[in-house]
């Protein structure tokens, strides 16, 4: 799976995700990526692109969960992401990249690694695989 989240200088957030799915999956199997709110979601607060074990991400409604926690608990993006990746998505099942309308950029995962890269305006780029 690959994904990209962007917040522009006006605070508009967008999430985009694309995948081939799982190796040896059954024909016709739908994963989390096209299920809005599971593998991909964006609203006026944030944009989230998730990756990992699709069945677990769908059960946890990962992408929407991040946005809902921000909205209902009035917490910043990194706090919402930590709650979802750290407590709601079972260990070893995936990760996500996310941006907020106020310009925060977060990348988190509870697997051994996630191929990732990020940058903020005026900041330095981050490219990584493991913690």
């Amino acid at each position: 799976t690959v994904g990209c989240v962007v917040v522009d200088s006006k605070g508009n957030c967008v999430a985009a995700t694309s995948t081939g799915g799982l190796v040896n999956k059954m024909v016709g199997r739908i994963g989390d990526t096209p299920v809005v709110g599971a593998g991909n979601y964006a609203n006026h607060l944030c944009a989230v692109s998730a990756t990992g074990r699709g069945e677990a991400i769908i059960r946890a409604t990962v992408a929407r969960e991040v946005a809902a926690i921000m909205e209902y608990k009035k917490v910043p993006l990194d706090v919402a992401v930590e709650e979802v990746i750290g407590q709601r998505l079972p260990a070893g099942k995936g990760g996500l990249v996310a941006v907020s309308a106020t310009g925060d950029v977060v990348m988190a995962f509870n697997t051994t690694g996630m191929y990732r890269a990020s940058m903020k305006q005026g900041g330095t780029q981050e490219i990584g695989i493991w913690h």
Binding site: C4, V7, L22, M26, V36, T51, A117, M119, Q121
Partner: protein, 202 residues
């Protein structure tokens, strides 16, 4: 407020002894895609355009599991899927079951912008792509030798797995070759069950 961008190429049990060539290829692709996105943002491109542009670049590189280089179904075919969502309007588009569309993310965006729907799948999605004039290729374009080997190894062990996993996560067999009507449980042999009383057979 300044702009921000993040992208990923998948998460999973990525082994620390990843072959050097693969590690360098992955990091080079991530850096190239990040540069592409940053330069588009610095040129004041809209967030929607930037996200699609970066994901198209990731789809084009067979090092990742999307577009060209997608992993294979149990039949050895590709069934790609994608989704795009615009935060301010909450407009979104999603597609599944694609086997000829070079950039699934672009088709997802056309579903969002040119249909009254959100989600199109399989024959309908493929027909819509052709109707919209999106670039399509023969299914073989998407299939790489590495993924054929990956499928063969997974099938030897009756595994369904993430593309990064090097046999390190055993996942429930979604079908039982001996008795198709039954699921066959496979014990997880790397990650300890989250609940020792109820082993996690997914």
């Amino acid at each position: 407020m300044g702009w921000g961008i993040a992208l990923h190429g998948g998460a999973g049990d990525i082994s620390k002894d990843l072959p050097r060539a693969r590690k360098e290829a992955v990091e080079a692709c991530l850096a190239q895609c990040l540069r592409l996105g940053v330069s588009a943002l610095e040129s004041s491109h809209a967030a929607l355009d930037v996200a699609e542009l970066v994901v198209k670049e990731l789809e084009a590189n067979p090092v990742f599991n999307a577009g060209r280089g997608s992993v294979l179904t149990t039949d050895g075919t590709v069934e790609m899927e994608a989704c795009i969502m615009d935060g301010p309007t909450m407009n979104c588009g999603a597609v599944s079951g694609l086997s000829t569309v070079v950039h699934p993310i672009s088709l997802a965006r056309l579903v969002m912008e040119r249909t009254p729907h959100i989600y199109l799948a399989f024959e309908g999605a493929e027909a819509f792509a052709r109707q919209q004039g999106l670039e399509t290729k023969e299914p073989s374009y998407f299939i790489t030798k590495e993924n054929q080997e990956r499928l063969a190894r997974a099938q030897e062990k009756s595994l369904v797995q993430l593309d990064h996993t090097v046999y390190s996560t055993t996942i429930i067999v979604a079908h039982n070759q001996d008795n198709p009507g039954q699921k066959k449980n496979v014990k997880q042999d790397i990650l300890p069950p989250t609940d020792p009383q109820k082993p996690e057979f997914e």
